[in-house]
């Protein structure tokens, strides 16, 4: 007698609920403990600590009352980091250190080396994003069913690279288009079980809000530059001989800091207005098995989330990053819903090769080092 025979009919489907159930104990104690153990082990425990944080966060996300599961391990993260460090970071680091010492005299050569290094870094960054996501999805389960990201990293990395290079050339106008393009590249290949997500979003609706972000960035930059120049330049009036005695007094520095800070704050709020629209729009264009997602972020709450998370991270010197991570996830989950019932029985197990005990090189390169 198989389990399938004793399948009890699921209750008539209401819309699947996505909820957040905060873990008992929260994340503060865990953050501090991880920090301590990290120091005691010269940083090695970091990967196990990160894993436990992810387990806790995943487990707080409930669909129809049952939690997501994170099956990644600390050793996988550590292995991935070592691979990336010794094959990529260390050689690059050595080159950047040694090259100026050995060939620093020739500026043309050095410029070529630097450009090459930047291109390599950007490409690897794209690969890293894809691989990290693939790793995380492949280690995510719900009711035992795996999620996954199909496709190879190379096309994604290529798209990432050339769209990044176009950002300065288009003075930033490509950003919404790029966001939609990259989001699509990732989501259309994202699976839960053997069924894929579908993303139908376009960049057009984004531009309606983006233009204001772009204009305000320029305006703020000009305003801040003239204001700062005014503050600094004030010390040059009235002196006829020699440089001023005190070009930077404390009150001038304070004024400059205040101006820049205010400008950043204003820009952050405008950007949040745009981001909120982008997140909600992307979610509403994403469907799974015909059911549409719905995300209801609002600008004030988003601004508060970003600002408070930034403070949490910087004031704790990243020690309390898990708290920020959990808050950000909770924020999304609390506002995320799925319209319509999903036919869970129609979804089979993800066919991607399971991680076997003796992992192959391909698996080893499914790194999540960042």
């Amino acid at each position: 007698m198989s389990l399938a025979d004793s399948l009890a009919a699921a209750p008539p489907a209401a819309a699947s609920r996505i909820t957040w159930v905060h873990p008992p104990g929260g994340f503060l104690g865990l953050s501090l403990l991880n920090g301590l153990l990290r120091i005691l082990t010269l940083g090695v425990y970091h990967f196990w600590g990160k894993t436990e944080v992810r387990q806790r966060i995943w487990s707080a996300v409930r669909v129809d009352g049952e939690p997501l599961e994170y099956r990644g391990t600390g050793s996988e993260l550590f292995r991935g980091f070592l691979i990336v460090f010794f094959l990529v970071l260390l050689p690059l680091g050595l080159i950047t250190l040694v090259a100026p010492l050995l060939w620093g005299a020739r500026p043309v050569g050095r410029g070529a080396i630097e450009s090459l290094i930047w291109i390599v870094l950007f490409s690897l960054w794209g690969v890293g994003i894809h691989r990290a996501r693939r790793y995380r999805l492949s280690r995510t389960r719900w009711r035992g069913i795996r999620a996954g990201l199909s496709g190879s990293s190379a096309p994604f990395a290529w798209t990432y690279l050339w769209t990044t290079l176009l950002i300065p050339l288009t003075l930033g106008w490509i950003l919404p288009w790029r966001a939609a393009r990259l989001h699509q590249a990732l989501f259309n290949e994202t699976h839960f079980g053997d069924k894929a997500f579908v993303f139908t979003g376009r960049a057009g609706p984004l531009y309606k809000r983006f233009w204001l972000v772009w204009v305000s960035a320029i305006v703020l930059f000009v305003v801040v530059s003239t204001a700062v120049a005014g503050v600094v330049g004030m010390s040059y009036t009235g002196r006829t001989a020699g440089p001023p005695a005190n070009p930077f007094t404390w009150d001038k520095i304070a004024a400059i800091v205040a101006i820049v800070f205010a400008a950043l704050l204003i820009f952050a709020m405008i950007r949040a207005w745009y981001s909120s629209r982008m997140f909600n729009y992307f979610a509403s264009e994403t469907t799974y098995q015909g059911c549409r997602f719905h995300l209801a972020t609002t600008v004030p709450s988003l601004v508060w989330l970003v600002a408070s998370n930034y403070l949490i991270r910087t004031l704790s010197l990243t020690l309390l990053s898990p708290i920020a991570e959990a808050r950000a996830t909770r924020y999304i989950i609390d506002r995320l819903s799925l319209e319509g019932p999903v036919e869970w029985q129609a979804i089979g197990q993800n066919p991607d090769a399971l991680l076997t005990r003796g992992e192959g090189l391909a698996e080893a390169f499914n790194v999540d080092a960042f």
Binding site: W103, A105, R141
Partner: protein, 627 residues
């Protein structure tokens, strides 16, 4: 140890891992494992042994729910939302607890610490020098290239001095020392940079940097030879290369340790510019130095003299990110102020070469041997002037007496000043850009009270030698005398920026602030001055005057008393203090002070005549006979 089975049936959700559905089930905590009954079944369909369970998060005693599967990759999952179940399960499957899980995760970390500790212990116990070994493996070309970069980085914007005779003198000295150093001397390149700071350091690839300040501060060529021999010692032992290798290694290790937790800054540039030497390195270099000096038949006394000349500080060397910046922040609290010149320039060398009494003792313990001077007189002069004419030493404190209210400065013999003006003018006709002559003439003009002419000369001199603090002091004084107080402040600020220990500059700055009625600033100037040079009598005198201006009579009295403690012949201080005593009603003390003022030598300070005149007047006013 197995616990009795718990007969309770808990509600659960079971998924088979083949589709994304879950069925209702019941679970029971059996003896050997969890017994699972799918809904409606009476028989146990599955038993999951406790030893093979894994949970989605480490299981705590009162977890409201738990999600279980079988190790290592079970796709079937069991979800039980009951804290009693969690508690019972934890008692039977202790491996699921957070402590046990974390312990598993700690194993690699502890292993890493053990390995690192073993490596460190090996290096220390076997007295290995890994960075030095690596440095030795580098080819000479690489070392020279590294050296070029380091030299460029540290001295980029400064001029290298290359006058012919000076260069030859320096090369002769270097050659004498390197041939004495070994039979196969490695090529050494000595670079002299036009920098007032006193310092010398070795860069990779046999390149040694010396500063103009060091050469001009030294009292004899033997002192320079000693320093150069010491630096050659560093080069022989490959200390600069090893230092760079060590810095890079540390940076890579830090990257490895901290890269996992982003946010820790590893500033490689910071490490690279820290050319600091350990005590061991210093000892080795010293040993080479005395050996080389002996072999070259140069007396080691000069080497010792040089370091004694720079007042030794046992205080901890401060971290410096860029030795190329002059240090305005270094206010040393040295109580014995024996040096006459600028102290700030000397501590730079001490920061990169920590001096201890051991080192000095070693150098001094060298037995005497036959020696010849390291450079001929001509070569020594050429070396000192390699970066241009040697500057005249800054005016000694005491000649810049505080201007007193109301009385113009008495004029010394005019004839001598005229002669100096004539001499200087003649010399300037031959070489109009001779800063030393300009300074001489400007001084003479000042003595004659021709401040406008003096100012013109000082301005030109400071344009020629902008890093010479003494010239800015002169310029400031000229502005002050012409009542151009704002400009005086600018000049004194520049002097202080160049030479934070320049008492004349600080004194002038304070006086100028006082003239501008900025009493708080003046007071703080004099506070710094006193802290800098507690034996400088004018610091106290001028601060006393400022305190009088601010109405702080008690402080002023204390200051004048301190001034008199430094010099009991200071008529001006007596009179000022007498005035204060008189104001506060201490009549007898006032009379005593006035009498002392009259008894003191009149010509010692510029305020002398004024002090005595006022003292006599006040005595008359008090109805006392003047002596």
């Amino acid at each position: 140890m197995s616990m009795p089975s718990d007969p309770t049936l808990y509600s659960a959700k079971l998924s088979d891992g083949r589709t994304a559905t879950s069925l209702a089930a019941k679970a029971r905590l059996g003896e050997a494992g969890i017994e699972i009954f799918p809904a409606g079944e009476r028989r146990v369909a599955l038993t999951w042994p406790y030893s093979e369970l894994q949970s989605s998060v480490p299981l705590i005693a009162h977890a409201p729910d738990v999600l279980l599967s079988l190790k290592p990759n079970g796709s079937q999952t069991l979800f039980v939302a009951n804290s009693a179940f969690s508690q019972g399960l934890l008692a039977r499957a202790g491996a699921l607890s957070p402590a046990r899980q974390r312990l598993l995760g700690l194993r690699p970390g502890i292993a890493a610490v053990a390995v690192a500790g073993a490596i460190a212990a090996t290096v220390v116990l076997l007295d290995l020098h890994p960075s030095q070994t690596v440095a030795r493996l580098l080819p000479q070309q690489t070392r020279e290239a590294m050296g070029h970069s380091v030299v460029a980085q540290l001295t980029g914007h400064m001029k290298q001095c290359e006058t012919g005779p000076g260069r030859q003198a320096l090369d002769r000295l270097a050659r004498r020392l390197t041939t004495a150093a070994s039979d196969k001397p490695a090529p050494i390149k000595v670079v002299m940079i036009d920098w007032a700071l006193v310092n010398a350091f070795a860069a990779p690839g046999g390149q040694i940097i010396m500063t103009r300040g060091l050469v001009q501060r030294a009292g004899s060529p033997d002192e320079v030879a000693g320093v150069l021999a010491h630096e050659i010692g560093h080069t022989i032992e490959l200390h600069p290369e090893a230092g760079l290798v060590r810095a890079m290694g540390l940076a890579a290790a830090a990257q490895l340790i901290f890269a996992g937790s982003t946010g820790t800054a590893t500033n490689i540039g910071l490490l690279l510019t820290q050319l600091r030497y350990t005590r061991v390195a210093e000892r080795e270099a010293d040993a080479h130095a005395v050996r080389i000096l002996k072999s070259a038949q140069i007396s080691a006394k000069g080497f010792g003299d040089f370091f004694e000349r720079l007042e030794p500080k046992i205080s901890n060397p401060q971290t410096k990110t860029d030795p190329a910046k002059t240090d305005e922040g270094n206010k040393s609290d040295d109580k014995k102020s024996t040096s006459r010149g600028s102290r700030i320039f000397t501590t730079e060398i001490l920061r990169t070469h920590p001096l201890t009494t051991d080192r000095l003792a070693l150098v001094r313990a060298q037995p005497a041997y036959a020696a010849t001077p390291s450079l001929s007189d001509d070569d020594w002069r050429a070396l000192r002037e390699m970066c241009g004419p040697a500057p005249v030493i800054a005016p000694r404190p005491g000649t810049k007496a505080a201007p007193t209210p109301g009385q113009p400065a008495p004029r010394p013999p005019v004839a001598e000043a005229d002669r100096e003006i004539a001499e200087a003018t003649q010399a300037l006709q031959a070489n109009p850009d001779d800063a030393a002559q300009l300074q001489k003439r400007a001084r003479a003009y000042t003595k004659k009270g021709q401040h406008t002419e003096a100012l013109a000369d000082y301005v030109k001199a400071t344009q020629l030698r902008p890093s010479e603090a003494g010239l800015h002091v002169g310029r400031g004084a000229a502005h002050y005398s012409l009542k151009q107080y704002e400009l005086a402040l600018v000049a004194y600020d520049e002097a202080i920026r160049l030479d934070a220990d320049n008492v004349a500059a600080r004194n002038g700055h304070g006086n100028t602030n006082r003239a501008l009625k900025r009493y708080e600033e003046a007071r703080s100037d004099f506070d710094s001055l006193i802290k800098l040079r507690p034996t400088f009598v004018f610091g106290f005198y001028n601060r006393g005057l400022t305190n009088v201006d601010m109405g702080r009579l008690e402080d002023a009295t204390r200051d004048f008393t301190s001034a008199l403690g430094l010099d009991k012949d200071y008529a001006g201080a007596y009179t000022q203090r007498g005035l204060l005593y008189e104001k506060t009603g201490a009549r007898d003390q006032a009379i005593a002070d006035y009498r002392a003022a009259i008894a003191a030598p009149a010509a010692k300070y510029e305020s002398g005549p004024w002090a005595q005149r006022v003292a006599r007047e006040r005595l008359k006013g008090l109805g006392v006979a003047a002596p």
